[in-house]
C-alpha cells in the first residue's frame, strides 16, 4: 500500500504522538491525511457559519475598548508580576488575546465536535474511509487552530493600532497564541468526546467563565492570598495569560518555558485521549 504524502506539520505531530504513545500502532489510526478533514471544515465554514467566525473577532475587541480604555482611564497604571508599571489597557490586552485564543479553540472543539459526533454522524462517515481517528482529531484541531490564529491576528492589529504592543517580542505572541489554542482544542475535544447530552456541555461554560474572570486577566495575581494563587496557577488560562503578557510587554525570561511546557503536556494528553476515545466510539 502506498500512503499519501505527509505534510511536515502533520508528520511532526504524528511523530510526536507516536513517541508519546510508545508502541501505539499509529499506522492503524493515522493515514497522514488530516488535511482533508481540515479542508472539509473550511468548506463547511465558508457556506454556513462565517458570521459566527466574525463574531469571535469582534468580541474581545469590545472588551478591550470598554474595559481597557474605559476602566483604564480610571485605573491608570498597573504593576506586572515583574514589577514593571504598564498602562491598564496594555495589561489586559494580552490577557484578552489569550482568552480569544481559548474561546475560538473551545468553540470549534466542543460545540462543533459535539454536534458532529452526536447528530451529524460526520465522524462515522469519515472513519468508514481510509481516515483513522488521529487524522480526524488532528484535522479538527488544526481547524480550531486556524480560527484561533485568525482571531489573534485581528486582535494584534488592533493592539498595534492602539499602541499596546510594548515590545518587538510581541511578534512571538502569535505562535504563543497558537500553542494556547492547540492546548485548549485538544483537551476540549477529548472532554467533548466523553459527553453525551447538552446539559453536560453546559459544564464546559461553567468552568470557562470563572477561569476567564479570575486568571489574572483583569488584575495581577498578587491581589489574591497565597492559597488561591496556587489554585489559579494550576489552571491553564493563567499560563497563557502570563506567557502572552510577558511577550507583548517585553519582559521575557527563561521562566516562560514552564508555561510552554504546561501547554505541551495539555496537547499531548488531549490528543492521546481524543484518539483513544474516537477509536472506542467508532472503531470498537
Amino acid at each position: 500500500m502506498t500512503r499519501p504524502n505527509l505534510s511536515p506539520s502533520t508528520l511532526a505531530a504524528a511523530t510526536g504522538t507516536a513517541l508519546l504513545f510508545g508502541r501505539f500502532p499509529v499506522g492503524k489510526y493515522y493515514s497522514g491525511n488530516a488535511r482533508s478533514v481540515m479542508a472539509r471544515g473550511w468548506r463547511a465554514t465558508r457556506s454556513t457559519n462565517s458570521l459566527v467566525v466574525m463574531s469571535g473577532i469582534v468580541e474581545p475587541i469590545f472588551y478591550l475598548l470598554s474595559m481597557g480604555l474605559g476602566l483604564g482611564a480610571l485605573i491608570g497604571q498597573v504593576q506586572t508580576e515583574d514589577g514593571q508599571r504598564v498602562p491598564y489597557a496594555a495589561f489586559i490586552a494580552p490577557a484578552l488575546l489569550a482568552v480569544a485564543a481559548m474561546n475560538g479553540a473551545i468553540y470549534d472543539s466542543t460545540w462543533n465536535v459535539f454536534f458532529k459526533m452526536q447528530f451529524a454522524k460526520l465522524y462515522e462517515g469519515m472513519l468508514a474511509t481510509s481516515l483513522g481517528p488521529l487524522d480526524v482529531a488532528l484535522g479538527e484541531i488544526s481547524l480550531a487552530l486556524a480560527r484561533g490564529l485568525l482571531y489573534a491576528t485581528g486582535f494584534m492589529l488592533v493592539m498595534q493600532a492602539l499602541g499596546l504592543n510594548l515590545s518587538w517580542w510581541a511578534l512571538l505572541a502569535l505562535p504563543a497564541v497558537l500553542l494556547i489554542a492547540f492546548g485548549f482544542a485538544s483537551v476540549g475535544m477529548a472532554v467533548t468526546s466523553y459527553l453525551k447530552t447538552f446539559q453536560q456541555m453546559d459544564w464546559i461554560n461553567f468552568v470557562l467563565l470563572p477561569m476567564f474572570l479570575f486568571s489574572a486577566t483583569f488584575y495581577p495575581l498578587s491581589v489574591y492570598p497565597q492559597g488561591i494563587q496556587y489554585v489559579i496557577q494550576a489552571l491553564p488560562l493563567w499560563h497563557g495569560v502570563e506567557l502572552v503578557r510577558a511577550l507583548t510587554t517585553g519582559q521575557v525570561n527563561a521562566g516562560l518555558l514552564w508555561h510552554v511546557l504546561y501547554y505541551a503536556v495539555m496537547i499531548a494528553v488531549g490528543l492521546f485521549l481524543t484518539t483513544r476515545r474516537l477509536r472506542a466510539l467508532f472503531l470498537d
Binding site: 500500500m1 499506522g27 491525511n33 472539509r40 462517515g125 481510509s130
Partner: protein, 308 residues
C-alpha cells in the same frame, strides 16, 4: 476460481456478556451479490461493521480482500464503499461537495475526484441537484447520494446496510435498478435487509441470520424450494373459527400453519388444496393462492415472534 472477496470462518463478536455474532461462516466471490437476511438484532449490522473494518472481531477468522481487518483497517477501507443504515451525509455541504470532500478523505487526487463526482451524479440521477443543499433532497435522493458517495473511490466491494428501508415503492425501484447496474458492471455487493423482495431482487446468494447464527444458506430459489413449498394457500374463517377449522384440515398439503387471523397451507398446488377444502364443506371467508416467497422461508426459520 478467483480469490474470494470475503472469507468469514466462525466469526464472533461479543460485547461484555452479550453475543451479537455467534460463529458465522461464509464466503463471497468477486462479482457476487450476497445477502445477509435476518430480523432486527440478528447481528447483520455488527457483521457488516466487522467486514467494513470499523469493528474488531472477538473471535474466529475474517479476511476482506485478502487482508485481516483487525490489522489493516485503513488499507481495507480504502477499497470499500459503505452505505450505512442511517444516512450520514454532510449536511453542511452541498450535494456535489459531499462527493468531492468524501473523495479527498481517501487521499485521491482532486481532478480525479471531480471527474468521478460528475459521473456519479449522473449515475445517481442527481446531476440537476448538484448545487442544492442535502437537506432539500427527498429520502430516495439522499439514499442515492449516499450510494454515489460510497462509489467515489471505485470500491472493489460495496457494503449496503438496509439500502431501501423507509423509502416509498418508486424510490425503492429506482434504487434497485441502480444497484442492479452496478452488479452488471461487476461490483461485488454485500447487502443486509429484512425485506424479502429486496433479497430476491438483488441477491445471487444469501444467508438467513438469527440470533447471531446462520440458519440457512443458498440462492433465493434454492431456499424457497428447501424450506417452503411451491405455492401457499391462505384462507380466513374469522378469528374465532380458524383454530377449529385447522384441526379438521390438518394433514393437507405439505404443512399447515395457523396464525391468529388466517391459516396457511403449504402445497405444490394451492388451487387443489382449495378444491379439496370446499369439497369437504368448508367455506372460507376469503382465500388467496400465491407463490411461495422468501418471506415464508424467513418466517419459518426465524419464527413469528416479534423480535425487538
Amino acid at each position: 476460481m478467483p480469490d474470494p472477496v470475503i472469507v468469514s470462518q466462525n466469526l464472533v463478536k461479543r460485547y461484555q456478556d452479550f453475543v451479537a455474532v455467534d460463529g458465522i461462516s461464509f464466503e463471497v466471490a468477486p462479482g457476487e451479490s450476497f445477502g445477509l437476511l435476518g430480523p432486527n438484532g440478528a447481528g447483520k449490522s455488527t457483521t457488516m461493521r466487522m467486514i467494513g473494518a470499523v469493528s474488531t472481531r472477538t473471535g474466529g477468522e475474517l479476511r476482506v480482500l485478502g487482508l485481516d481487518p483487525n490489522e489493516y483497517g485503513p488499507e481495507i477501507r480504502s477499497q470499500l464503499g459503505v452505505v450505512p443504515q442511517e444516512n450520514n451525509l454532510d449536511l453542511e455541504l452541498k450535494v456535489r461537495e459531499n462527493l468531492l470532500v468524501y473523495g479527498r478523505y481517501f487521499g485521491l487526487p482532486r481532478a480525479r475526484v471531480a471527474r468521478r463526482a460528475d459521473e456519479l451524479l449522473e449515475f445517481a440521477q442527481l446531476a440537476d441537484k448538484a448545487t442544492h443543499k442535502v437537506d432539500d433532497l427527498s429520502g430516495g435522493m439522499k439514499r442515492r447520494l449516499t450510494i454515489a458517495r460510497a462509489l467515489i473511490n471505485d470500491p472493489r466491494l460495496l457494503l449496503l446496510d438496509e439500502p431501501t428501508t423507509g423509502l416509498d415503492p418508486q424510490a425503492r425501484h429506482i434504487l434497485w435498478d441502480r444497484l442492479f447496474r452496478l452488479k452488471e458492471q461487476g461490483t461485488t455487493l454485500l447487502v443486509t435487509t429484512h425485506y424479502m423482495d429486496e433479497a430476491e431482487q438483488l441477491c445471487d446468494r444469501l444467508v438467513v441470520v438469527d440470533q447471531g447464527r446462520i440458519m440457512a444458506e443458498g440462492s433465493p430459489a434454492d431456499l424457497i424450494r428447501r424450506y417452503s413449498s411451491r405455492e401457499v394457500l391462505e384462507v380466513r374463517f374469522g378469528s374465532t373459527q380458524n383454530a377449529e377449522v385447522a384441526e379438521r384440515i390438518q394433514g393437507s398439503g405439505e404443512r399447515v400453519e395457523v396464525l391468529p387471523d388466517r391459516i396457511l397451507v403449504y402445497s405444490d398446488s394451492g388451487e387443489k388444496e382449495l378444491e379439496r377444502m370446499t369439497a369437504a364443506g368448508l367455506r372460507p371467508l376469503t382465500s388467496l393462492v400465491r407463490r411461495s416467497s422468501l418471506e415464508d422461508v424467513f418466517l419459518r426459520l426465524t419464527g413469528r415472534n416479534l423480535i425487538e
